[in-house]
């Protein structure tokens, strides 16, 4: 048991139709993943404004993951394509600002992929924990 392992704070944005349902399925199947992951429900991954991701990092999140339907399966036909482009740009910009690539991730999880959801969260949480605390983007004005 690693008692002193760093416990990261991870924000997960999940689309209502695929990934949020996938997370529910992980629960139904009792597939464990770290409690560090906190899920926010959005109608579609394309509802995730890059400013939400920035906000999370500002407020001390250690990692942000966005989950959507698989390409071609978006409930709204094309929303996840927008997400794919937006996040590619955002993640590279964050990388430039010093938020490592390993702290951000975009993953496609369908409503049937409970196991994939849990595996992804385990993997991502471990990856983020290994990097330790994220201090780069914290807003000094809201330093508590």
């Amino acid at each position: 048991m690693q008692v002193n392992k760093y416990r990261p704070l991870i924000v997960a944005f999940c689309c209502n139709w695929c990934s949020y349902a996938g997370a529910d399925l992980a629960g139904n199947n009792r597939l464990n993943y770290p409690a560090d992951v906190k899920i926010i429900r959005v109608p579609c991954s394309c509802r995730v404004n890059p400013s939400f991701v920035l906000r999370a990092f500002q407020r001390g999140a250690d990692g942000v993951i966005i989950c959507g339907c698989h390409p071609g399966d978006c409930h709204y036909t094309s929303g996840n394509y927008y997400t794919r482009r937006r996040m590619a740009l955002l993640f590279s910009m964050l990388d430039y600002l010093g938020i490592e690539r390993e702290r951000t991730r975009l993953e496609w999880v369908s409503a049937a992929e409970g196991a994939k959801f849990a595996a992804t969260m385990n993997d991502f949480a471990e990856q983020v924990a290994a990097l330790g605390e994220n201090k780069r983007l914290e807003d000094l004005r809201c330093k508590r």
Binding site: G27, N28, Y76, G79
Partner: protein, 664 residues
């Protein structure tokens, strides 16, 4: 400030087993806006719901947070509870502490900690919730079917049978489409006319169906349940209601040499014509490009012979304004042009024909009365070569062919080959194929019968070139299995031309704001689960306009589209989803970005007058979301550069509040 009540559910031991529910309700009691917090064994039970209703009344609650199972499970339940307590149902938020907390975390301490954070996020969100009311729009109980082929016919009949009025708009003088031109149909070999023409008669006789033949859709406005459509009825110079279809005019007309499009130009018709004997409506039409009277004012024979007095040389195009609740697209397909396939000598020899031309050649009502005679010299061909995949699966030649498989060619070629060998056993029939694709009920058996019983020579390989020489067609081809190059002296070469969507489809898609793929096929709302609906609400797809299809598939899709239309038209009112986008007009800069990303065409721009601070009035271009069309995906909210667009129920401020609550 909201007055929020928090209700933590134990779900028996499902939640309480790994989450300290008392600690959760105690912790959330101190959150801003929370005036009441409790926990109970089963919140979703009647007793649990009563606790909520009681608390709303006792504590004057304006918002509710339920920490329980997934909102996908019981959000609707608790919204009803809120409504029963006199609250707006959209003032409820669920913190998912079962599927996404107690069931996936084993440790009580971390489970409780996470449940508290999820509860705080929900409280933060409810603090910013506003009551929402779903909009209602009335439904015009009439459907429009665009295209009168077998797809449109089947859809119209099914909708009419359910008791709703339907209009069919067909650009040709008769309905019937491609199927009317076919000879036999695979795999049962019924004659196409024998199964299609009774359906055409049914359409004509059905009181609920109106046929606008020789007409085109000119403009479409509106949205699901309320489309306003302009239909152009082209002048046919014959009064439709008076013409009896006797056909005397078509016999007496002196202009004899107009290529007959129904027989694909393989014979001629007159300037006034009825496309074929079973046409519906059976009414003559004057071709203005050929008619002497219309061109030079000299003739008038048809008007003299018409005993009914139906001819009207002064007829004008007519524009009809109609209202519809639903629109079905059934614009069908065409074979692609063979002009660019020089290697097959289509333009050099009359004896190189497409498969659709072959259908007419073997059809009893066709130019040869069904006798298989080759077009150049009307002799019986003894060696016939069929070439498959002409222009289909053609990835490198976008200007020539199509990248997709046209799906129907393997089967109709097997049919053609089989019918020839059946009627004329002295004929050698070769079929050159890349793959033979027969996925359909009784399809492979049909193809094997052509090979095994009828002795059609299927050769794995392609034809490289066709050269007309004397009265023969020199065919050079590969036989990949024998490793040979074959040289065949053929009398007739039949090309299985790829099929493409009708040219009218793209402008129509623009009018409908319905999406299309790069091949101009209409895209469906979901490729697996919503295959007959367009992503644009109220627009449905029937037949080959959505992708290559054979007749059985077209008819199934046509009926499926009809079922969807009926499901829409039985409603008196459409209740919308209140979680839709809306623009803050003061912030909107009229850039149109949101309009472009919207997959549903829900956003339009209007010029609106604003009172400015200096008391002048300025006209500004601002975005307007039609809540009946918006599906609430939120793509526009992120695309909006000025931050004017927001999504009700998932407002940016709400999501940021959730982020803040989680990251605190």
């Amino acid at each position: 400030m909201q007055r929020i009540g928090v209700f933590v559910c134990w779900c028996g031991s499902n939640i309480a087993g790994t989450v300290d529910v008392q600690a959760v309700s105690d912790a959330l009691r101190n959150e801003p806006g929370v005036v009441f917090s409790t926990n109970y064994q089963y919140m979703c039970s009647q007793a649990g719901q009563d606790i909520i209703i009681q608390a709303v009344k006792e504590h004057n609650l304006t918002g509710i947070v339920v920490c329980s199972c997934s909102p996908r499970m019981h959000e609707a339940t608790f919204r009803k509870t809120a409504a029963a307590a006199g609250l707006n149902p959209y003032m409820v938020e669920i913190a998912n502490i079962r599927e996404q907390c107690s069931w996936v975390h084993k440790d009580m301490a971390s489970g409780t900690e996470k449940a508290i954070i999820l509860g705080k996020a929900a409280v933060a969100k409810v603090n910013l919730n506003a009551p929402l009311t779903p909009g209602e729009t009335p439904v015009t109980k009439r459907a429009l079917v665009i295209g009168g082929g077998i797809a449109g016919i089947q859809t119209a009949l099914d909708i009419a049978d359910a008791g709703f009025p339907v209009d069919i708009v067909e650009k040709n003088p008769t309905i019937g489409g491609k199927m009317a031109q076919l000879d036999k149909t695979f795999p049962t070999l019924d004659c196409a006319a024998c199964i299609l023409t009774p359906k055409m008669v049914d359409v004509a006789q059905n009181d609920n169906i109106r046929i606008f033949s020789y007409s085109e859709v000119e403009d479409i406005k509106g949205f699901v349940g309320n489309f306003d459509v302009k239909i152009r009825k082209k002048a046919r110079f014959v009064k439709e209601d008076i013409c009896t279809g006797c056909g005397l005019c078509t016999e007496k007309c002196p202009v004899r040499k107009v290529p007959n499009e129904f027989n694909l130009g393989m014979d001629n018709r007159r300037a006034i014509y009825i496309p074929f004997a079973q046409a519906v409506p059976k009414v003559a039409t004057i071709d203005p490009d050929a008619c002497n009277m219309l061109k030079s004012g000299k003739c008038g024979v048809c008007s003299k012979v018409c005993t009914a007095g139906a001819i009207d040389y002064k007829q004008q195009d007519e524009i009809l304004d109609e209202k519809y609740g639903a629109i079905v697209v059934a614009t069908g397909f065409n074979p692609i042009s063979m002009d660019k396939f020089d290697e097959y000598a289509y333009n050099q020899s009359k004896d190189v024909i497409t498969s659709l031309e072959f259908e007419r050649l073997t059809n009893a009502a066709g130019p040869t009365q069904g006798k298989l005679l080759r077009p150049s010299d009307l002799k019986h061909p003894h060696t016939i070569v069929f070439v498959q995949c002409v222009g289909s699966r053609c990835a490198s030649c976008a200007e020539k062919g199509k990248e997709y498989c046209s799906k129907i060619c393997c089967m109709y070629t097997a049919k053609h080959a089989m019918l020839i060998r059946d009627k004329y056993p002295d004929t050698e029939v070769y079929v050159f194929y890349i793959d033979v694709r027969t996925p359909g009920k009784n399809f492979d058996e049909f193809y094997r019968r052509a090979v095994e019983e009828y002795g059609v020579k299927y050769i794995k390989g392609m034809v490289g070139k066709v050269v007309p020489e004397g009265d023969k067609l020199k065919v050079q081809a590969s036989d990949l299995i024998a490793g040979k190059q074959l040289h065949i002296d053929a009398d007739l070469v039949v090309l299985a031309a790829a099929i493409e969507p009708d040219k009218s489809a793209r402008p129509l898609a623009t009018m409908l704001t319905a999406s299309m793929d790069t091949n101009d096929f209409f895209t469906e709302a979901h490729p697996k689960l919503r295959p007959v609906e367009s992503p644009t609400a109220g627009v449905f797809l029937s037949g080959a306009c959505q992708g290559p299809k054979d007749i059985p598939e077209t008819v199934s899709q046509a009926s499926a589209a009809a079922a969807k239309v009926i499901g829409l038209l039985v409603k008196d009112k459409l209740t919308g989803n209140p979680c839709v986008a809306s623009a803050n007009e003061m912030m909107c800069n009229g850039c149109s970005t949101c309009e472009r990303v919207c997959p549903y065409g829900a956003i339009t721009y209007i010029d609106k007058e604003f009172r400015m601070p200096d008391r002048t009035v300025a006209t500004r271009r601002v975005a307007q979301v039609n809540p009946a069309v918006c599906q609430g995906c939120g793509a526009c909210t992120v695309a909006c550069m000025s931050g004017a667009m927001d999504l009700r129920g998932f407002m940016s401020s709400q999501i940021i509040a959730e982020v803040d609550a989680i990251c605190k």
